[in-house]
Every structure is written in C-alpha cells, then in structure tokens.
C-alpha cells in the first residue's frame, strides 16, 4: 500500500504524497524535536523536510526504503534549519542553559538529568545519538544518513558519548556542591 503511494508520488501525484506526508509528519516532527531540542526550529525543519521530500522523491531508488530516506531528509533539514538560525538559536540556548530545577521529587530525576545533558551537546553530536539510540541505526546507517564515512560516524558517536558523560558528571558535581551548601547553611 505504502510502496504504491510512494511510486505514485514519485510520478508527481500530489494526493498520494499528501497521504504519505500526513502519515509521517508526527514521526518526523518527533525526530526533529529530539535532534534540535527546540519546538519552533523542529516545526520549521519538519516543514522543510516535507517540501524537500516532495522535490527529491523522484530520485529515491528503492521505494521500500522510503521511511529511512525520509528520516535522512529530515536530518538534513534539521541541520539546515539550525544553521540558518544559529544566532537566534544561540540566544535561546543561553536561556535554556539557565540552571534548571532538578526534579528530585519523582522518578523522573534520571530522565531530567539526561535531558539537560543532551541539551549541552552540539546538534551534530545529538544527531548521531538520536540516530543510534532513538532510531536504533547501526553505525553504517548513521554514516549513510549523515553522508559521512563510517569511521567519522564512529568517532562522532564516541565524542558525543564522552561529552554526555562529562555533562552528567558536571551536573552531579554541581548538585553535590549545592547539597553541601544547604547542609552548612
């Protein structure tokens, strides 16, 4: 059913494409949100991904790989969107980088901690992490999605995990420091 729609859309059938786009839009938006960690930019990136998918769909060789191809288009749209509004995004990052209240009152503390650490990664690093751990891509597919050599994908993931670990450790140190201050006060 889907392959039929993809084939029709490749031949310029806008109705077929709108069905495909409607079915994919939330999934792509989620992917963009996880990569960009910004609601407005994610919406722009999702929109760009859908338009670009329409324009480039005739070049898709294997209709069975439509979803993976669409993910790749979205990853590239995220990168473009991020670059186009980098200055604005930096200001936003400064706002969101304010010390956030850690949620110790619930079982979500661990999640909150990871969330804050992920925000500290660069978009390039976070993209590799999302492709690997959210989409479950093996490194070869990550490399393919980003159009980089496998070795580069491996090292980018390695550095991303290192950066994540460092961010988690820094958070843990600052929380420990705050707790000590409270006790002595």
């Amino acid at each position: 059913m889907q392959t039929d729609l993809v084939s029709r859309a490749q031949r310029g059938d806008r109705e077929a494409f709108s069905v495909l786009a409607g079915a994919a839009v939330d999934r792509l938006h989620t992917l963009a949100r996880l990569i960009l960690r910004d609601a407005d930019l994610a919406e722009d990136a999702t929109q760009e991904a859908l338009v670009r998918a329409w324009l480039d769909l005739p070049s898709l060789r294997d209709v069975d790989r439509f979803e993976a191809w669409l993910n790749r288009v979205t990853v590239r749209a995220c990168s473009n969107t991020r670059r186009a509004s980098r200055r604005w995004s930096n200001r936003l990052a400064m706002v969101t980088a304010e010390p956030a209240e850690a949620d110790h009152s619930s079982g979500l503390a661990d999640r909150d901690e990871l969330e804050r650490a992920l925000r500290r990664l660069t978009v390039a690093q976070r993209t590799v992490v999302v492709l690997t751990f959210y989409l479950g891509y093996p490194v070869a597919d990550v490399a393919d999605a980003l159009d980089i050599p496998v070795g580069t994908a491996k090292s980018r993931l390695h550095y991303a995990l290192d950066a994540l670990r460092a961010a988690l450790a820094a958070d843990a140190r600052s929380e420990a420091g705050a707790a000590t201050k409270e006790r002595t006060a």
């Binding site: 938006h29 989620t30 996880l34 329409w54 480039d56 209709v63 660069t122 959210y134």
Partner: protein, 265 residues
Amino acid sequence: MTANGDLERRLSDFYSREPLMRAPDWVLESALSTIESRRQRRGLLAPWRFARMTTSMKLAVAAVAVVAVGAVAITQLAPPPSVPGTPTVAPTNTAPITAPPSTPEPTPSQTGYVPPPLSGLFISEMHGIHISYPAGWIVRAATEPWTTDGEPAFTSLAGDVIYDPDLGDGLFLTLASQPLGDMSFEEWSTAVLDDACSDVGPTVVDGAAGVDCGPGTEVLVSRDGRGYLIMLRTSQDVQLVGFDATDWFSGVLATVQLAPEDAVE
C-alpha cells in the same frame, strides 16, 4: 558493567519512553500548500523508472546496453571495407590531417552531467568577490549583508546564489563575506562551520589563506579583515552522473578574485 554500557542503556531507555510529539496542523498544511506550486526535480538518470525492475530485467537492460555500446564502437572504429585489388593502408602513428583533435563521440555509458563552461563573470557588489560561473546559470545577487554566523541557505537574501536552472537548489554556488570584527580568522571560521566539517584542511584562494571544509566544496578564507565563504552545494539525492564536484569547484575557485575594498560594510 562498563560505564559505556551503562550510559548506552540509559539512552536507549530514555528514548524508548519518548512519546510521539504531534506536529501542529500548520506544519503539514504549509508544506502541502508549498508543494502545490513546486515541480519535482527529475534526476538525470530518472532512477524511479528502474525502481520496480527485477534483477533479471536489470541484467537484460544492462546486456542490451553493452551490446549497443559495442556495436557503436565497432561501427566507429572498424576500418572501411577494402575494395578488392586495392592495397590496404597500414595504420601509422600520424593522425589524419582531417581528424579533429577532439574526444571521441560520447557513448551512452559516458554521458553524464557536465556543467557549461565558466564563461559568465559575476561581480558581487555586496560581498566583494569576482567569480566566473557556468553559462546559463542563474545569478541571484545578495540584497542584504551577511550578519549571522550560519551559512546563508539557498533561499537566503544574504548570500549571492548562482544555480543551475534545471536543478535549482540541487546544485548551486553560494558566496558571502563579512567583516571579521574582533575575531581572529580561526574563531570566525569555527563559528561559521559550527562543528559540521568532517575533515578541515588548509586552502588558498586568490592568494588568501583559509580552510577547506571536508570534501572540498566549501572554503573559508580571509583578506584584509574580511572573511569569505564560498561553497558549492549539491544534493545527494539528485543524480549528477560523472560529475566530480570537488574537481569542478577547484576550477571555479581558480577564477575567484577577492576585493574586500568593494564589499558593502
């Protein structure tokens, strides 16, 4: 249990609990409205035509192509049939006077994307760059200064964009420049590239030193306190058969003249 394995498990667990985030309605509506007026790009190989072929069909097509190419080659290369009784002329190392010193006629297997010759000259008044570009390509000169540290996109008004009219944003050159201000070239180039280059190396354009981002289709250089960005963007989803972007871009770069004194401040 390793620290690596622990973090990886945490990440897998974190993302597995991530809910699907509903996109606002306007995202889909706006995208569909945009494509109403946009025609799809057809790659030069039109790969969609082959997408549903079976392996045996593809092999059959390939065999026919090989036979066709062979037939053309035999027709072109075989000597004319000799007339009985006349002596056959032995081949010599001297080319016939009438034979043009040109490349052989292209066969189907050799055809590919070849940009037109670099016979156009564009002088960027906004950015202070002179550059040759392919005949027939469309120039959209910048109308705004480049003030952000992100690369100007295809649709940006801050970059001079020169593009193949048939491919649109599938193949285009972007030129932009801005004063370095208080930054060193290294700081500026790091901010512009934003960690997105896999293999940054040194380069020189019109005698100005700078860096080459990755596969050789994006360079940043500086002259007299002004940073220049020159890049060629290709779409990996558009089939540009036989087109060596890096090689072609280096030819374009060889025509560049940087004129920071002419740029708009």
